[in-house]
Symmetry: none
Subunit: 231 residues, 2 copies
Amino acid sequence: MDKSLSESLLQQLKESFFSGELLPGTELVSQRRMSESKGLSRSTVREAIGQLEAEGYVEVRHGGKTRVKNLLEPYFNMPIEGVSALGDNVDFQRQVMDVRAMLEGEAAFYAATRATDAQLQALDAEYQRMQKRGQGETTLEKAKDDLRFHMMIAESSHHLLIICFSQLFYTRFFNAIYGVLTRTLQKYGRYPDGIRSQHGAIHQAIMAREAENARTAATEHILYTRRHLDE
Amino acid sequence: MDKSLSESLLQQLKESFFSGELLPGTELVSQRRMSESKGLSRSTVREAIGQLEAEGYVEVRHGGKTRVKNLLEPYFNMPIEGVSALGDNVDFQRQVMDVRAMLEGEAAFYAATRATDAQLQALDAEYQRMQKRGQGETTLEKAKDDLRFHMMIAESSHHLLIICFSQLFYTRFFNAIYGVLTRTLQKYGRYPDGIRSQHGAIHQAIMAREAENARTAATEHILYTRRHLDE
DNA sequence: ACTGCTAACTGGTCTGACCAAGTGGCACGG
DNA sequence: CCGTGCCACTTGGTCAGACCAGTTAGCAGT
């Protein structure tokens, strides 16, 4: 097993966390002391600790001690490494919404054209269910409902590539999408009215099999939400 | 805004990443050169690049260059096997063209809005070069020219997700795209006239920074080719 | 007991050196 | 002519030791 020194130190430290040797809240020994005890240079130790910090295992403050964070934390905001960090980036959120606008417009277009009657019926049922609930839900549940609705549309498009990409996109970038909703709610205190009526417009256009209208409504729906990021 | 040097360098690099200045697949300058140009020590540069790596933005190999990663790549392992076989499947070709129509429309839209002057100039040069050659090329070379032209547009969009998706899409489904061209040539014996003028329209709209026209022209261009697959 | 200074920590950055792993060019031999 | 292998050069990885910059604990003076 050939690894770089800093890498194997990193792994060694992680194992100490998982074994319970280093409990959350405790303090790491200083970089100098660790470099002595491990027989490595301080640069190498810093490299490893820097990675630990980036992955959310420890919290390091200039001048203060380095503290071990709660072990479960990294798992909550890390459905997929790296991308999670992007969830809070407004620029990235904007980009995600741009792609959603494009993707869902196309999906709605093809759904209006090619959905089976059974799919239309299922879509209608899901829409009615969404309308009925509405109020008493958490932000997270709303986000999930929203994605489920849009994913049903994508599936109704009968377009392999669009379905594949939608699936991938919604699962991987759920954090960013959820972040947009959270940010919007923080700013307005509630679900913007537009969204409800826009969902209605999409639903209606697909039901009536009006492809162009469906595309326009779906695109406009996402861009409406996106605009709230700009203010 | 008080930040550590490595942290602000990290942020600066991320911004270059999102702005399209650092495209996926390109190589970072070496740590030594970067430390010179930024007026920082190599340690600090290493710190920042280490974070970038931990967050999945770049891939660094001992002894080799550091490459910017395509952030969609890990998730793009769709029905890869048999994709080459699918290259001849008309239904699949149609789907690929549908997605191209969507993708290139958006790319052209954002390129018209956000391309730098240098990018416009490069795009213009590439367009002129395409016009000059034209005749004496093989089908394969034409397909490559076409994709290079469209890829330049995608890169000029400064839209990270669109760039990533385009890169992967064009490489993975090149066979299908090439297949469409081959099929068209077999049927008509030559490059349809429409394509030449359509490239011209796209080129002109982007140069004039007319975003909506660029989108329409690019979409129509792909759908025109797609229509040749029908009947 | 409170206050405020200071000294001894902590992490952050710098320098310049050397090691180790890829890369590319060039001369040699087929 | 092409392939092959060597070698110099570039890249990232590690090291040592120094100094800067926040943090903190303890001690002195009130």
